[in-house]
């Protein structure tokens, strides 16, 4: 088994790493020592079949082991009744069945492990072991060294609640389906019996069996609708569930009376199959929403920051940011994201505050400076004192602005409910008039008149109408999901379709989240610099490596925190780092306006300066043009300096831009635009965009955005491109068109059916056929959304 080795050949002559499949330096088998160790471990355990059977997705993150310091898992370990420990983890990097097999095999070989089960659908690992809770770290390290990432699952409560809701809906669907099938079968017998001459006793028997099946099933499966209808009525509103519930209850009650009177017509089949059709829509809707939410939570969990707290005895302990108490000392290494708001106590560094303020270039910070969660520490290790989340912190201020903004958004009424507001009174009035007309004017008996009035209610039962919107919505959110766009809010699609102005944030939204190397350099010098930089996790080092491509890290490189890297060679010392570090203290440490920089000095050669600037996302200009072509205005609103904003705006082809906006000014801008009658969509990633995201009619964030922005945004998109914005708008507009067609179809159907019902010509079989027919028509129309490409 050990001899089985696969060897993918990379394009362009270079080879692929035998573990992670990424390109690696010429002639080498592995791209890094981590991959080599992982390969050795897997082969050593005799699990080499993994490499033969796996299918690596080139677009997913490669399984390259990265040493990430992990928070203490202790608080997440759950002790079970039998004394064993249980831990639920979100797992990243699992791509196929082979990964599942490998992880379960590796963990299963540990003697203490009772069970290890990967759920490929939700991307979670459930681990149960006997013994000490502290063993969690060791077990997780086994999996992490193979290139997977594990983080404790933080949303257990909300997920369990949502899963339980989903299961309850499916149970209701199963019961409704069971009853609908059987009642329909009996009904066919009754309908045929009407023409073939069935005895009244047989008919009564069939009616009673139908009633016994249908009534309990309706009581059980109708609950989701009844509850929603009651809560709407209690708040003095009506929604689609009110006419549905009323119709179902009236029809069941009347059919029961008919069965008691041994009448000819009962409508149990119509009532229960109505619920069955509607529940199909509810279940699909719940699943689509649940999947988008779970993916969004997963992205957040994987980015969650651990904080290194310095305990009073001087030892370090990593813990989740939300558990850090105010006043605690927190150590933040170079290249780490700061997890808490605080004041710098020791250390001098520069901070990338782009997520917080929108400022693209790093700014210097020293003892006494206030720092905010979400800021990236660029240069040197610093010690913070965590501050209370009191009224004076930035986050609290944001939260206040956001609350104010959201209060204005809750008034949006979805299309279906707007239709329901008109629909319910008209239908009920129509049924009442029919009853009065037959009973008082035409001299029908009370029972006959009631029956005819009820048949009006049945044929107008808003089955097609209630399916019209969700069916289109489910299929659209599925289409968005495959395009990497997560639809988080139920009403976002409808709001999205109305947008006529898109406001972009600049830093991290219109531009790439990372700085990029700009300019042309001597390839040899670049190779040397990248070789040095490969030893460091500093953001600029990473940008340098990314610009060069795969590189063999130079050995013997020493990192000087906050300054740079050095390498002793026979010819002398090579240095890569800040201006002061490379050129000596003689050089003035001026802050340049042009961007971030790195210097390379080599013995006997003049110093070389590498420049890093923010760059537009690759398809930014194209997206702006596409939006224009759709008749949507585009605007840029940034907290950054005027010059930088103007340049990016002109590169992206945006005419209208605002620079130097503080969060409240940005929000005021959005409010003003809305006040002028625009329907505004905000696309932003930063903490400073939070209030705007909440204030805009609809909002969107990239998946690299600050946590709070992602939580607030109606949509989250993945990937490097901005194209998702145009795709989302296009899908939303198509969906709105299909929704309107669906509603139109449902209304036309009612216009045809109501006169027939009022005339008293509708029999149960006609009602059942018409209702199913209109539902299927609406579903089929919605399915058209699937085939179309944007």
């Amino acid at each position: 088994m050990n001899a089985i080795i696969d060897r993918p050949i990379a394009q362009g002559g270079g080879s692929c790493c035998r573990h992670c499949g990424l390109a690696c330096p010429e002639g080498a088998d592995f791209c890094c020592s981590g991959c080599e160790a992982a390969f050795g471990t897997i082969q050593g355990l005799g699990l080499g079949t993994y490499y033969l059977q796996r299918l690596l997705d080139p677009n997913a993150r490669a399984p390259r082991p990265e040493m990430v310091e992990r928070a203490d898992l202790g608080p997440f370990v759950h002790t079970r009744a039998d004394g064993s420990c249980e831990l639920l983890l979100t797992i990243d990097g699992v791509q196929c069945g082979a990964c599942v097999w490998l992880i379960e095999q590796i963990l299963g070989r540990e003697r203490s492990v009772v069970s290890a089960r990967v759920n490929l659908t939700s991307g979670r690992l459930a681990l149960v072991w006997r013994g000490d809770a502290q063993e969690a770290g060791r077990l997780c390290a086994l999996v992490e060294q193979l290139g997977y990432r594990l983080v404790p699952f933080r949303f257990a409560e909300s997920t369990a609640r949502s899963d339980e809701q989903g299961r309850a809906l499916i149970r209701a669907l199963a019961v409704a389906g069971f009853a609908a099938g059987n009642v329909m079968l009996l009904s066919i017998g009754i309908w045929v019996g009407l023409t073939e001459g069935m005895g009244p006793a047989t008919r009564a028997l069939l009616h009673w069996v139908s009633a016994l099946l249908a009534l309990p099933a309706i009581a059980y499966a109708g609950q989701p609708f009844f509850r929603s209808a009651v809560s709407a009525l209690r708040h003095g509103r009506t929604n689609m569930d009110v006419p549905i519930s009323l119709g179902v209850i009236l029809v069941s009650g009347l059919s029961l009376v008919e069965a008691m009177r041994n009448g000819a017509h009962t409508y149990f089949d119509s009532a229960i199959s109505l619920l069955f059709f509607l529940l199909i829509g509810r279940v699909l809707d719940h699943r689509a929403r649940n999947r988008a939410r779970a993916t969004a939570e997963r992205l957040l969990a994987l980015r969650a920051v651990d904080v290194a707290v310095i305990l009073p005895d001087g030892t370090l302990r990593r813990m989740p940011a939300e558990t850090v108490a105010p006043g605690a000392r927190v150590l933040v290494g170079a290249g780490e994201r700061i997890g808490v708001d605080g004041v710098i106590r020791h250390g001098q560094t520069s901070l990338d505050t782009s997520l917080v303020t929108g400022e693209a270039l790093p700014c210097p910070a020293g003892p006494g400076s206030l720092v905010f969660a979400g800021t990236l520490n660029m240069e040197a290790a610093i010690t913070l004192e965590a501050t209370a989340t009191g009224a004076d912190t930035l986050l609290a201020e944001m939260a206040r602005l956001i609350d104010a903004a959201q209060a204005g958004k809750g008034r949006f009424v979805v299309l279906a409910d707007r239709v329901a507001r008109l629909y319910a009174p008209v239908v009920h009035l129509c049924a009442l008039l029919t009853f009065l007309a037959w009973y008082a004017a035409l001299g029908a008996s009370l029972g006959e008149a009631l029956l005819i009035a009820c048949s009006v209610l049945i044929v107008t039962c808003p089955c097609a109408l209630a399916l019209a919107v969700p069916a289109a919505q489910v299929i659209a959110s599925q289409a968005l999901f495959t395009a990497g766009i997560l639809l988080k809010s139920a009403t976002a699609l409808e709001r999205l379709a109305m947008v006529d102005l898109v406001v972009f944030d600049k830093t991290g939204t219109l531009t790439c989240p990372e700085l990029a190397l700009v300019g042309a350099y001597d390839p040899q010098a670049l190779r040397l610099a990248a070789g040095l930089a490969a030893n460091s996790r500093h953001p600029l080092s990473r940008a340098l490596c990314a610009a060069y491509g795969p590189v063999q890290p130079e050995g013997g490189v020493v990192e000087h925190p906050g300054q740079g890297l050095s390498l002793q060679t026979e010819a002398g010392e090579i240095r890569l780092g800040s201006r002061r570090f490379c050129l000596g203290s003689a050089c003035a440490d001026t802050v340049t306006d042009a961007g971030a920089e790195l210097y390379l000095t080599r013995p006997g050669q003049s110093a070389l300066r590498f420049c890093f600037l923010e760059t537009l996302r690759p398809d930014a200009a194209e997206t702006v043009a596409r939006l224009r072509a759709m008749g949507i205005g585009v605007m840029l609103a940034s907290g950054d300096r005027k010059a930088a904003v103007r340049e990016m705006a002109s590169l992206a082809g945006i005419g209208a831009w605002h620079a130097g906006l503080r969060p409240d000014a940005k929000m005021a801008l959005i409010e003003r635009l809305r006040g002028n009658g625009h329907c505004v969509m905000m696309v932003g990633d930063g903490l400073n965009d939070g209030p705007c995201l909440a204030a805009a009619d609809v909002s969107m964030s990239p998946s690299c955005a600050a946590d709070i922005s992602q939580t607030l945004a109606d949509l989250v998109f993945q990937g490097a491109g901005l194209g998702a914005v145009a795709v989302a708008l296009a899908v939303a507009r198509r969906t709105r068109r299909v929704m309107r067609q669906n509603i139109g179809l449902a209304i036309v159907y009612n216009l045809l059916a109501v006169p027939v019902a009022v005339a008293g010509l509708v029999t149960p079989w006609l009602a059942a056929a018409a209702m199913s027919g209109s539902s299927l028509l609406v579903m089929a129309n919605s399915l058209r959304l699937r085939g179309q490409r944007s």
């Binding site: 069945g97 599942v100 939700s122 499916i170 149970r171 079968l185 028997l205």
Partner: protein, 49 residues
């Protein structure tokens, strides 16, 4: 007439059995990981686990 009674009783029992099995499988978590289940059959589980 008796024939119909038996027929109805029989069909309800069969269909009710199907419903019960479905509800059991739902509670038992058979639908939790459909993607994983499709992949798992491709790999050997080691004996003794």
């Amino acid at each position: 007439m008796n024939v119909i009674l038996w027929l109805i009783l029989g069909s309800l029992l069969v269909a009710g059995g199907g419903l019960a099995v479905f509800l059991w499988s739902l509670r038992n978590g058979q639908y939790e990981d459909l993607k994983g289940a499709a992949q798992r059959i491709l790999f050997d589980e080691e004996a003794g686990r």
